[in-house]
Symmetry: C2
Subunit: 223 residues, 2 copies
Amino acid sequence: MTIRTIEVREKVMARNDELAAEVRKRLSAHHVGALNLVSAPGSGKTLLLERTLERLGDELSLAVIAGDVQTQNDADRLARHTDRLVQAVVTHGGCHLDARQVLVALEALDLQATDLVFIENVGNLVCPASWDLGETAKVVVFSVTEGEDKPLKYPKMFQQARYAVLNKIDLLPHVPFDLDLAVHHAHAVNADLRFFLTSALTGEGIEEWCDFVRACARSALPV
Amino acid sequence: MTIRTIEVREKVMARNDELAAEVRKRLSAHHVGALNLVSAPGSGKTLLLERTLERLGDELSLAVIAGDVQTQNDADRLARHTDRLVQAVVTHGGCHLDARQVLVALEALDLQATDLVFIENVGNLVCPASWDLGETAKVVVFSVTEGEDKPLKYPKMFQQARYAVLNKIDLLPHVPFDLDLAVHHAHAVNADLRFFLTSALTGEGIEEWCDFVRACARSALPV
């Protein structure tokens, strides 16, 4: 049974990779990049995107595909900050987004009029690491309340990501969290990981993050 | 392929349920209860268990099975607080513990000399909800930094749990978190959920939690 499970899983993953390639092709045809935001539940992905849309919504045409296990709460929150379509994908118990769901969501977006697509994945530090969505890059978001050891305990996610947002830095005075150690652990599993330190709540660090988003929108390639 | 995937998944789950029944039988034969702690990464499960072992380690014989995707960090942290065996289970990328892993871990425990088993599951609010480990009850741990809507966004976990620990209440003055609303949301998906409010960091609420653990150890049934 184990071998059969692995076989089926390999076929599902292979099919996902084909669909991810299709996503990548469509995005590329319109010179549009896509950032896949992955994190544990409650790390602040949605608030980070709200701040991003607030600051850049008039300047850039940013589309969002918001995945959730249940509810469209995140998509509803984001829709308040943009006139652009926010595509909600409810996985109904599924622990990650897959490329098929992204491909369907893309159908509803006018890619010709889009500068950059954000994909807000399901809150889960394990499973989304294994699924290529056709994104330009994965951005792992974690927060100072989660402990410094998360990169060591969930290495695949930090290896798959090209960028890391360490969020909720406004709470640093109130939590036992060693910032340097967290960055050290992250670089131990992925030496190339580029960090952004933010507080989506207070706005600290959001300007540098927005500069990065601007660069992604301009070049369709993360810098 | 989708149908085949579902078939294989159903067989895997059915086999897990058989093994969970075996776990339950073994625990029951020794009148030992097991609490399966489930949460998102970084909610404070390990520190809660450290505090529990500190306070009750001399009074009760508490065993721990600590699951992690990678590293034995949690098991090592816990082992500092107890002379009892802490069984580390590394899932090597697996997003949840399964009953087979618990059954193997139980082999190493002297159940005759055990009052209560804690199972610290992989940090993941999605997948562990679907896996019966033969536990007496699931305890969902979440924290005030994660937002009030987590019970609505991850309803299965809050439905499967009989107890909820809302941790990090020391941070309440520093985060925009409506405690009543969070409890309201949790009871909307599971009206019977009993709450513990704790700060594993400062020790607030830990005494009430320890009274509950004592009761579980005495009766082998959560009260």
